[in-house]
Amino acid sequence: MEKFTTLQSRAIPLHIENVDTDQIIPARFLKATDREGFGNNVFRDWRYHKDGTVNTDFVLNDSKYSGSILVAGDNFGCGSSREHAAWAITDFGFKVVVSSFFADIFKGNALNNGLLPVQVSPAFLSDLMQKIVSNPEIELVVDLEKQTISVKDSELSENFEIDAYKKTCMINGYDDIDYLINNKEQIEAFEAQKIY
């Protein structure tokens, strides 16, 4: 897994609540047996019309905006457990998703793929959206070590929470498999004496 420490980048505002994993990557693109290339189809049915033409109204197609931070509405990533959603977002080039609330499974999948979910207060999210929309060139600074997200050259800043173990994993690029395999003996001992 890629390491994550700090990131300074412009951001793309996706001002929609309850973005579900079917929107992030529709089921018809889940037939692949590897992890590559899902970025081509991220938010497919919002980025393109059914006839394949580009939907210029959609924010990802708006040349005003760019960057590797996605700022989204409340309850981001609800729905299915498809990790393809996290793969699609990272493959497209995002390294951070900011929202006021994340669905459980998506959050776990993101963390397992070096994509940092930054949960902020609804008020901060609203201010952030406004700032980006009024000046798409502003840059955000995400510091995982300090657990802060701020808008560069402004007062706007907030701390965010992250599980201490997951933070260590992200900073060092570790994943859970290594940890679990190193505990095989303990797992076998558990199996030998389980009570149920």
Binding site: R28, L30, T33, D34, D74, N75, N112, I187
Partner: protein, 460 residues
């Protein structure tokens, strides 16, 4: 100390706890399917890690399978390859696979309980969010991502922080025509799609106690639609009777010993939950959704609420509905009875009972997709198929089908589908399709009438 059902099962599966971090949770049963497992197998192979406990894994093909001509080679190349990959991976790693056409094949959340893989007190995972279904047996069961599928392959464990506990109690007598699907759609409409996030939910009260296992599975299945990773119902005689004698269940004395243990699992009377909600069964009516998330539900006789939230308006615009309008008499051209929520024998009995002696409306395409080969066989043996045939409904072969439309079972652009599935997200049943979630009874009535009707009025 007093414990909840969830505490008892969770605590008995903790291998160890990392200081200031997650716990290592032991997983008893791992269910896999073709869509979320291939990348996990690849990862293990790339890293030279063997599958640790292949005999605790059960595989099926369901998400991407055709529901017609299953005996013939699959036409779509990518789909065929995905299924071939699953067969190859299972063979290579000595994993039991009930592949397409096998008498035990079916949707993972239908076939595993049918075979008795699902049992009280177990921890179960699958790379599918509707794994919450198995909580109906008093198991801790939840959906995982593919990285976690790889973790369970490698170690039969997951690193997790214990979720908080939530209890939803429903007591009283359900009205005529109110099915388990209506109960859970009602709960989600009241609590919203993220009220359960970070929680494991227990359903309690006489309404769930009185339900069949099929009904309990429908309820637990949709726990994820309110954000809860899983839902559970305390195991009781109904549960024990269901499990008894099934393929994977223990037999004789060994089974009785298990039952004695399962009886210790229900929540202690003075146990505390982090959050509690309770509802009166009499307040629940046949439900229907009008928007693009499962929380956007109303009683079928109600009108769509008015809300100025831009996301709410976007949702109504997608559905081409107006705030304040009623859905009664809306013409509907597609009806789907199936999915891991409502494709068990009981669901088809309900539908057949309504349909018997009636005809499907001419404008409607009505697909009936059983959850498993066993359900399909039962439909035929019980004579339900002839009722469906006579009425003009199309009984297809088992699979996830139009619930997520990964295969060819897609609802056309702009069309409404009254569906017994679990998600009404934009384009879920096909690009541009509009899903209206409902019970098998409401779906059957819609197919017969060719439009949405107030089923409670008709029944009374």
């Amino acid at each position: 100390m007093s414990k909840t059902l969830f505490d008892k099962v969770w605590d008995s599966h903790v291998v160890s706890t990392i200081e200031n971090g997650p716990q290592i949770l032991y997983i008893d049963k791992h269910l896999i399917h073709e869509v979320t497992s291939p990348q996990a197998f690849n990862e293990l192979e790339d890293r030279g890690i063997p599958v640790f406990r292949p005999n605790q894994i059960v595989a099926t093909a369901d998400h991407n399978t055709p529901t017609l001509n299953q005996d013939q080679p699959i036409k779509d190349e990518l789909s065929r390859k995905q299924l071939e990959q699953l067969s190859e991976n299972c063979k290579k790693n000595n994993i039991t696979l009930y592949e397409l056409g096998h008498k035990y094949n079916g949707i993972v959340h239908v076939m595993a309980p049918e075979l008795g893989v699902t049992q009280p007190g177990l921890t179960m995972v699958c790379g599918d969010s509707h794994t919450s279904t198995h909580g109906a047996f008093g198991a801790i069961a939840f959906g995982i991502g593919t990285s976690q599928v790889a973790q369970v392959f490698a170690s039969q464990c997951l690193l997790l922080s214990k979720p908080k506990s939530l209890r939803v109690t429903v007591n009283g007598k359900l009205k005529n025509g109110v099915l388990p699907k209506d109960v859970i759609l009602y709960i989600i409409s009241k609590l919203g799609t993220n009220s359960g996030t970070g929680y494991f939910c227990e359903y309690a009260g006489n309404v769930f106690e009185d339900m069949s296992m099929e009904g309990r599975m429908t309820v637990c299945n949709m726990s994820i639609e309110m954000g809860a990773r899983g839902g559970m119902i305390a195991p009781d005689e109904t549960t024990f009777e269901y499990v008894k004698g099934r393929e994977f269940a223990l037999k004789g004395d060994a089974f009785d010993k298990k039952v004695a243990y399962w009886k210790t699992l229900p929540t202690d009377s003075d146990a505390k939950f982090d959050k509690e909600y309770s509802f009166d069964a009499e307040d629940i009516a046949p439900m229907i959704t009008y928007g693009t998330n499962p929380g956007m539900g109303i009683k079928i006789s109600e009108t769509i609420p008015v809300d100025e939230n831009p996301s709410f308006k976007k949702s109504l615009a997608y559905m081409n509905f107006e705030a304040g309008e009623s859905l009664i008499n809306k013409p509907i051209n597609f009806v789907f009875i199936g999915s891991c929520t409502n494709s068990r024998i009981e669901d088809f009995r309900v539908a057949a009972n309504y349909i018997k002696g009636k005809k499907k409306a001419a404008n409607v395409t009505a697909w009936l997709v059983p959850g498993s080969k066993q359900v399909e066989t039962q439909i035929i043996e019980e004579g339900l198929k002839s009722i469906f045939d006579d009425a003009g409904f199309e009984l297809r072969q088992p699979g996830c089908s139009a619930c997520l439309a990964m295969n060819d079972d897609k609802i056309p652009q702009g069309e409404y589908c009254v569906s017994t599935s679990n998600r009404n997200f934009e384009g879920r049943q096909g690009q541009g399709s509009r899903t209206i979630l409902a019970s098998p009874l409401v779906a059957a009535a819609t197919a017969v009438e060719g439009k949405i009707i107030d089923i409670s009025k008709q029944l009374n």
